[in-house]
């Protein structure tokens, strides 16, 4: 509308100018011809400038995100996924999709053209989207999210790095030999996890078992013993009060997980629900204990699943329980690129967290040496500034550690990138009512006065 008015005003101005100039030129008296023509031109230009509102010349900001929701293109209004994942852990993409079109849009999570998960967004709706899959690769790789409307396909890259496999060492403390513990220990041991088990058979006699580790005395539970394990699976009845206290104290100061096996003497499970059974009742709960975690199990016959041959369900159950119990055990360092959608030829902040011992003050981004600045308040937090010149995966080296980070191309996830440079105020929303430039009245009046006077003189 605004644009039309502007062109209309300019068009009318040009015609008016032509007519007036011709009239001036045709006049018999050629007195002050050049000055008259100039004055006429100035008068018409001023008149047109008064007519045109100022706002049409205001800069439009590319980072003005709200605008995208009013255009006809369907877009993500938010999107997030974990860029770094443990081995065999599912990648969960969560986002909000705004479908502005009048057709249903299908969202596909794919890898190399293989559909892994999908959902639909109904026409004209604003829907939260949840998609998940286990990335098939080990190391850095690329999943893709396809938004398919009738014929258009938009590709959104989902770069993910899968960390190498890690071992969780588990200590079992059992009140009596039982199938549940034995099946679980067997399952863990065949996958290479260090396992130690102590089952009481008499007052002070224990049957012990060690898999993938050297035997250690298990008769007495001590802090030193517990240091060797990431997760402790204990039968609450098998522990004396002092042992229980020691366990609790160790767990709460050492990022470890303690799993209490099902116990009929306990009441209902307490804490946040981690897993529910088929009836919707809590089956596993988790409670933070200082720096560690306490998990309570509601059932102790999962070995029956294994006997029935349902190995996958058994695996899912215990992978969930033990992963939750292990927490972030053994992780000392991580690297993150900021902003989330780090784009080529932009200022990228590399944020490095390190709780272990590391002394190098320089981070290598490919061949580029980047000095690291330690945070003034958080001693384990370092940052560096970087301008990537290539898209795709980049390798970073810091001392002996290697990290990976992905740099997006300018067209990827464009709708979610924040590109408002500092200091630029987003343009006013009401475009239609810009202020009139009243200062143009001066040249208009001056020209008119000149032309009037010239005729009189």
């Amino acid at each position: 509308m605004m644009q039309q008015w502007t062109s209309l005003a300019i068009g009318a101005g040009v015609i008016l100018l032509g007519v007036l100039l011709w009239q001036e030129y045709k006049r018999a008296s050629k007195h002050w011809l050049a000055a008259r023509l100039l004055a006429t031109t100035l008068a018409v230009v001023s008149l047109v400038a008064l007519g045109i509102r100022h706002s049409s010349t205001a800069p439009t900001s590319p980072g003005n995100k709200r605008d995208t929701t009013t255009t006809s293109k369907p877009v993500f209004t938010s999107g997030y996924w974990e860029k770094t994942l443990p081995y065999l852990a599912p990648m969960r993409f969560q986002g909000k999709y705004h479908n502005t079109t009048d057709t249903t849009i299908r969202l596909h999570l794919t890898y190399a053209g293989i559909g892994l998960d999908s959902t639909t967004v109904a026409a004209g709706s604003d829907t939260t989207v949840n998609l998940q899959t286990v990335p098939p690769f080990l190391g850095s790789g690329m999943l893709q999210l396809l938004a398919i409307s009738n014929k258009d396909t938009t590709v959104y890259p989902l770069p993910v790095e899968v960390m190498p496999e890690k071992r969780i060492s588990v200590l079992f403390i059992a009140g009596s030999p039982g199938f549940e513990n034995r099946f679980l220990a067997d399952w863990l041991a065949t996958q290479g996890m260090p396992v130690a088990m102590r089952s009481r058979v008499a007052t002070s006699k224990y049957v012990t078992r060690f898999n993938n580790m050297n035997p250690v005395p298990l008769d007495a539970i001590s802090t030193k013993l517990l240091e060797q394990f990431d997760v402790v699976m204990a039968d609450p009845e098998a522990l004396t009060a002092s042992e229980k206290n020691l366990l609790q104290a160790t767990i709460s100061t050492a990022y470890k997980g303690l799993v209490y096996l099902a116990d009929s003497t306990h009441g209902p499970l307490k804490g946040t629900v981690l897993l529910k059974d088929s009836l919707g009742k809590p089956s596993v709960t988790i409670t933070p204990q200082g720096m560690g975690r306490l998990l309570q199990l509601g059932s102790s016959n999962t070995f029956a699943w294994k006997l029935q041959g349902d190995t996958l369900a058994y695996g899912h159950y215990w992978a969930t329980v033990l992963s939750a119990a292990a927490g972030n055990t053994g992780v000392t360092t991580a690297l993150q690129l900021l902003p989330f959608f780090a784009t080529i030829n932009n200022n990228i902040t590399i944020s490095l967290k390190n709780t272990g011992k590391q002394t190098d003050s320089v981070l290598l981004a490919g061949q580029v040496r980047l000095p690291l600045a330690q945070d003034a308040l958080l001693e384990d937090h370092y940052t560096a500034t970087w301008w990537p010149s290539k898209t795709g995966w980049h390798t970073f080296r810091w001392g002996t550690e290697t990290y990976h980070g992905y740099i997006f191309a300018p067209g990827e996830w464009a709708e979610l990138r924040e590109e408002i440079p500092a200091g630029v105020v987003p343009a006013s929303q009401d475009k239609g009512k810009g202020p009139i430039n009243w200062y143009w009245i001066l040249p208009l009046l001056a020209s008119c006065i000149f032309l009037w006077l010239e005729k009189k003189l």
Binding site: G113, F137, S176
Partner: protein, 694 residues
Amino acid sequence: MVKRGYNILTAWRNRWIILRIAAIVIQAMAVALTGCALWGKPGIFAGVAYLGIFLINFLLHLPDKTEMATWLNQQFPELEDSAGLFLKDPQQLNLLESLQVQKISARLALLNLPLSFYKPVWNSLVMWLIAGALSYIIYSRAGNLRPDKPIAKMQVEKVLPGILRSTITVTPPAYTGKQVRKQAAFNLLVEDSAAVAWEIMTKTPVSKVNLLFSDSSVLALKPGTDSTSWFGTKHILHPGFYQVQLDTLLSGYYQLQLIPDHPPLVKVNSPQPNTTIDFGRPPLVRIDARLTDDYAIKNAHIAATIASGTGEGVKFREQQFNFEQSFTARPNAITATKTLNLNSLGMKPGDEIYFHIAVTDSRSQQTLSDVFIVTMPDTAALFSMDGMVTALNIKPEYFRSQRQIIIETEALIRDKDSLGVAKFNSRSNELGTDQKLLRLRYGKFLGEESETNIGVGQHDHDDHDDHDHAKEPAFGDADALMDQFAHKHDNAEDATFFDPEIKKQLKATLTEMWKAELQLRLYKPQEALPYEYKALRLLKDLQQKSRAFVAKTGTKTTPLKPEKRLSGEQDKISPAIMKQAFAYNDPDAVVRAALSILDNPGILPSADVRVAELIRQALGRLTTAAAREPGKYLASMEALPKIQEGKAGTSDYNIARQGLYHLLQPRTLPQPGVRPQSKLEETYFKNLKKSGSQ
């Protein structure tokens, strides 16, 4: 003068021809467009064919100049039917003619061609518009129907440049009953055990031609008269892939897919797995089965075993029956039927027949169906009280009633002749009443509405609050009888302590009683008898079912109480120490790492030793899989070396990754997270503890 007129006429004729040709070309393009929308690129040939046919037709029937003159005469009256004069030799014109030529040639120069002259072109353009609209509709509809997944394109197979021609003759084995077929393509899809004959013609004489198979066997083709034609035959017994070798030159990999021959399938529609033929029912069993095979069914029969007698005296007799249908035509699907008459097989009440159906296909693969059991219950055994009185504390009178009814019905049938019609009918009706009473008793268990009845008259429901169990129930008083075993603090609706399965059977029993009662009331005790027997049998079954079973469960030993037990001397006890290390190796780690390498196209082919080794191992996995399922993995197996050599396109990366992806097995593993703990949290927690302890 004549010359000028002749020139104009010729020029108009040429213009007309050009216009017609242009029209045909435009029409052909329209046809090609429609064809393209319908069939894709090959559709263009429809346009080419159209152009060829109409152009040749037009050129064969070109109008001559006389026709043109005639057309002009018709079109323009001012030419006074004299346009033909321009075609004559000027010397041969007579005076009148030359005068006429002078007159009209001036007019001819002034004439304008009418619009209708250009009509063919306009018509063609209209055709174009229609074709365009049609194509758009087809295309947009096709767009809606487009499949979600990218269609895996069959790759055009690459043939060695030295090969002039190849003919592959596939002779399907006899069991398929299929014809010999020939193909030129090297990718093979053949029946199990088919004989494949290769005939390869080379452009120049070569010294040897070999076929290298994935099971590392080599088929050396034999040369013909000159060294340009080569022959060889092989029986294909397992799937895989192969290469053609000309001298030292190796071709790409060709698929060798096998169509397996599945054993025949049997679907038995009737009878049910367990069938009971009640007393009084015709002793016939109709067997109805659907037999299918992928090629042909050679034979099928019913193998039956008849068991007679009980306990130690049981005897078995085996017998084989053919179906009523013949299998000489070797159908690949047939509905086979057979009716067995149990009496003619010599079966008596109490005997059982077990049978299964055996089907053999043309490759002599046999399938046996499940075993079906048909029982003829022994009516005498139903009356026996064995097991009933001993196993459960049952009150026999409720079950005796049904037996009593049967006995009396049989007695009634026996005495029919001596009783006379009126007596007979009245006794039959009485039996019906008894049957009804019994049904009402059992109906109580299901919470059915109670009916008070004849023997007692109207009965007050409320006077049972005192629970007078000692009182003997009056005959036919269902409520009073119920009191003996039902605890009546609640209404009948709540007396449903049976599980749904039992209730279902109880309902079925009641239905049989209904039917028996109906027949009795119609004075047809003979027809009521089967229902009575069935009701009795169901009741007996019920009685067996109501026994409770405790399912076996896994054992979990109770924790020992050390303060009470095993508190003696334990010095000599040395418990076992189990120690074992597992050589663990994640089989899919190689494939997963290779996938990550393929996801970073920059890494290959200028990769380091470790990466090259990973790709080599992944290729090994793919090769093994391709030998098993060439259709699924062969393309990936070919794409991966291309990537290694740096000769691959984007599609090769995708194909390689798809193949590797399908190799992965689902697996779960407990893993710790990836985020390091923050020092801030740790400090906070420590300070919290400190302030808490102060």
